[in-house]
Symmetry: D2
Subunit: 356 residues, 4 copies
Amino acid sequence: MSHNTFGRLFRVTTWGESHGPAIGCVIDGCPPRIALTEDDIQPFLDQRRPGQSTFTTQRREPDEVRIYSGVFEGLTTGTPISLIIQNTDQRSKDYGEIAQTFRPGHADLTYHLKYGIRDYRGGGRSSARETAMRVAAGAVARRVLGPTIRVRGALVQVGPYVIDRSRWDWGEVGNNPFSCPDAAMVPVWEQYLGEIRKSGSSVGAVVEVVADGVPPGLGAPIYGKLDSDIAAALMSINAVKGVEIGDGFATAAYTGPENADAMHMDGTAIAFEANHAGGILGGISTGQPIMARFAVKPTSSMLTPVPSVNVTGEDVQVVTKGRHDPCVGIRAVPVGEAMLACVLADHKLRHRGQVG
Amino acid sequence: MSHNTFGRLFRVTTWGESHGPAIGCVIDGCPPRIALTEDDIQPFLDQRRPGQSTFTTQRREPDEVRIYSGVFEGLTTGTPISLIIQNTDQRSKDYGEIAQTFRPGHADLTYHLKYGIRDYRGGGRSSARETAMRVAAGAVARRVLGPTIRVRGALVQVGPYVIDRSRWDWGEVGNNPFSCPDAAMVPVWEQYLGEIRKSGSSVGAVVEVVADGVPPGLGAPIYGKLDSDIAAALMSINAVKGVEIGDGFATAAYTGPENADAMHMDGTAIAFEANHAGGILGGISTGQPIMARFAVKPTSSMLTPVPSVNVTGEDVQVVTKGRHDPCVGIRAVPVGEAMLACVLADHKLRHRGQVG
Amino acid sequence: MSHNTFGRLFRVTTWGESHGPAIGCVIDGCPPRIALTEDDIQPFLDQRRPGQSTFTTQRREPDEVRIYSGVFEGLTTGTPISLIIQNTDQRSKDYGEIAQTFRPGHADLTYHLKYGIRDYRGGGRSSARETAMRVAAGAVARRVLGPTIRVRGALVQVGPYVIDRSRWDWGEVGNNPFSCPDAAMVPVWEQYLGEIRKSGSSVGAVVEVVADGVPPGLGAPIYGKLDSDIAAALMSINAVKGVEIGDGFATAAYTGPENADAMHMDGTAIAFEANHAGGILGGISTGQPIMARFAVKPTSSMLTPVPSVNVTGEDVQVVTKGRHDPCVGIRAVPVGEAMLACVLADHKLRHRGQVG
Amino acid sequence: MSHNTFGRLFRVTTWGESHGPAIGCVIDGCPPRIALTEDDIQPFLDQRRPGQSTFTTQRREPDEVRIYSGVFEGLTTGTPISLIIQNTDQRSKDYGEIAQTFRPGHADLTYHLKYGIRDYRGGGRSSARETAMRVAAGAVARRVLGPTIRVRGALVQVGPYVIDRSRWDWGEVGNNPFSCPDAAMVPVWEQYLGEIRKSGSSVGAVVEVVADGVPPGLGAPIYGKLDSDIAAALMSINAVKGVEIGDGFATAAYTGPENADAMHMDGTAIAFEANHAGGILGGISTGQPIMARFAVKPTSSMLTPVPSVNVTGEDVQVVTKGRHDPCVGIRAVPVGEAMLACVLADHKLRHRGQVG
């Protein structure tokens, strides 16, 4: 992970600003002879695309991806895959006022402090629009992982409302605009987010991502641990403030016996009696499902006025008028899945290089 | 972060096994002409050293560090700094039985699955002994950061017992064997850990690390974000299962106004009215204190028997007799500080290269 | 240097195939607030552009570059700079026959052996067309280097004809289609290359690149040496088979006294009495001009038939009909300059991070 | 290649100064379950060791290597391998005068200019002593390459005397103190170097390194080309000023037909009729022997006085008295072999990760 590139053997470099002509990414290190067309990528972009319900920003982007290189006659060639999405619905006039003021909680300020310049239009480079390319790269990563490894995600908390895990049903995730696996929670979130949106406020959320079918052995101690890379990948998503693997922070209150994932032989295979570890021990996958969660803070762009300062050093009240997500956590679900898929694809390739 | 190296410009590579002849690290990229002797490093190692109270492992290692290169007449030269600690108290016989069995929750199993071989003595490479070199590197990182940046840590939760932040007093941290900033919590933990130890069990904990005096502008979007690198660094520590920046997971329940760190001008400086963000926005430091927390799971080595399997595929009960920490979180405090110091030193140097 | 990316702090990732819809690059790590428009890049592309004389391929590409990101209101922002050139003159039918046969001396064979697939149209990814993006990146690197560092190149040998260095005149380089600094050599090469071209053959060449105004101190021992990075960068150019720094291979025949670049004080500055070292000692710049040369082998695409094999394992005679350069060394001059500029820009930024 | 580390999956980090207590390296990424003891490494160190003939420095170092980590019960474990050699024969008093003066052609000056400090004793970090660790790492790389890939080297030029390739006999290389494959050349070099040594001078040389048995497909276009990495690796060796692959600079004078390595089928295998390309096309191995040559300039440390300057800015005459090699090229043979072995080991592992 460095600057605008992540991964070591499966390497993704993204570029582009919210209101530039286009955004894109270059995926380097994808193995050859994998079938890949735009149709393998587009469905995931459609899932992330804004404007699909009243709970996400009303910016309308078709987010149509095009493969510019690295694929020949429908197969990857081992050369870099360039993916580009044209930007079409840039209403830069909405952002005129943030040219001069800093939204509290937003990267406006820090880009200004670091670089002395920023493309303020729509948040420029720091816009969540960049995550579209993560999702596109994640779709390619899924092809590298193959059909036996499945990466899924769900929203498990919105504001104070946490799902009941005993009601978890992956089949429900596609039946509601929140990627919620607990059907009973959907109306609660619906009403709560409706109020948040109407009041011009925003709210945080927690996303859970899970990978099934991951073979044991992925991950590289000590500083290339699988969980360390997952933490970096998820924490790099806009607005994320916390990452957990397996039972995460809850393990702080466990005793050793409570935390131990006991094992026994099931024929010739090792069977685990629990998965508190989230499928990773010592930074290496165990063969159990990889489980991670991340916390997404509330959008800092909102109608509620907040005291702030401007570039000329005056106190101001900031109100962000543009089109925003009342809960960015919703659209973070496919992004989290994509990051997990990319990390796993990278480690799948690294593992081959590590064990010789 | 890759294999056994972390950092990009301030790069630390560690080596060594728990029961090998020595452990060491190579620090590459330390700027020249910084005064450095063993005396700058030893105090931090002494803080992490085992055997200092009944609450940590009784292995007795003097952990005496020696500088083998990179320093000339008391000053760094810009060449790699090699630090070595001889291992002295290796009782390998204690570990005979874990040669054949896998401790649930321990890297024994995954090293075996990945590599088909492991130095089982004392956990080999996966032993927390490796963290001694992180602490040593962190001491060098502190010299790179200079006197204006201060990195400190504290234990804020042991099992179910969480400190009261209103009683936080940095001055108390050195007054108890837990690095606890809340004097009133010390006797509670003392009694609780005493019981845990006597029962042959173990327990988890939460550590908080804070850096004051960090200038704004450190960090590199999008995949070299400061918080992303901190997450990777802390998650790479043995037994860590979760990482938070600022208010972390709590922000999921916040509304936008609750989460916003309002600003106003204080003379010519920007003043923040809160620090929910933990000193980082958009992956770049704001100038506020950097605040991070991490959850440490209970030690998997304990006297309580747990069902497990052995290398020949039989069901067994595992009891780990050796010398272990009932709460590894205690000794993780200086390790967490060290990792934060290293990440900051790396980003301090990177920042110079980024802004030209 | 890894896969399709080179540089560490000034990082360039290129993508695209000869006959795909476009080629491009992403430049990551360019410092902020540098004035940059397409007009800063286009002149260098025009210099490399094919079809400008009878001595280069007749493929006609306008090679018009467009900046897609990383620049706002005419200034770089510190975010990745995406440059794209549309391909327009792809006559894929010319290449039908090389789909099945391997041109001796060409990457056709090795891409096939490694990946089991290749985009054969025009050489696909291994085409010299990729070097257009190196030239574009080099133009940005020059802006990072600033006006005091000047990078220039010249052709110094074509086939058996070597220039007379005593007649070296930088002013002549732009006056002939060869970038030849020795006016007296121009007619010799003209006649020789005319014959080579008519006979359907090709020929090798040597290019020299020089950077003036490089400050002392750039370069990082031991494995980030400036000359090591220059060697990697120049050797990565298509068809390059050798790289020299300073007097290069000639130094093998020197004695120590012959090779020594004696020094004396010139006021308060160190003056060198020679530059056999090519401006680099111990991998670090001395302040003298950086001088490097590289050998370019003859184009393997030519009308002369050569015994070869095809993908189905039969003996064949290969004749390459398409449009080719009789001497690719000519168009390698701006590419060599660009690579040197990129390496220097990278080391300029790294130096800031190294000395703290 | 960065700072003091080279390689991407087979990564070698070296540390240590000529007159420090020890030198060492850490090899990260060596696959597990490879038999490895000190006896696999020592013979290569013995070949490089100084003081073995009158033609190399008289410094006497046993150069006894010890494995400190990464090997368990005689097998590699996949964890970092730490190798250390104690320094024993440091006569620092020999170097007192170079504390204040800069030897022309030596890194003394540039370390001073870059870092403002240097360990001047015996050249400190820039001493050829560092190459002992390259040789040690190369011995481990050979184990990774396995018995089918053989890496050998020879001295092919000393001063003006070039071997006759038609007399090349690998069997002769071990029969003379020069690693000369042409028995008829040995007495010529013997007499010539005797004179050079007596006169207190030094002389350059050319080394050739060859790897047989390399499978096709190693190497990664565009910037991870095998030849590009070999060039970087060889150019990083002390005193190297030029690198060639295959016929190298000679190809500049070739025509296309002269340069083409024609092919035909030999049963089901591809047979090449020549190897001008040195076993690499488009940066990827062809399956032919990998052939590279590098030029080593004359030692800059010599008894012949050369005009120079000192740290206080005065003109001086420099005479280097210590113990030096009249022709460092001789001891560069095992170093060149080691670097080639390391690059190949790295690419062998990378290839597995590239093709999935």
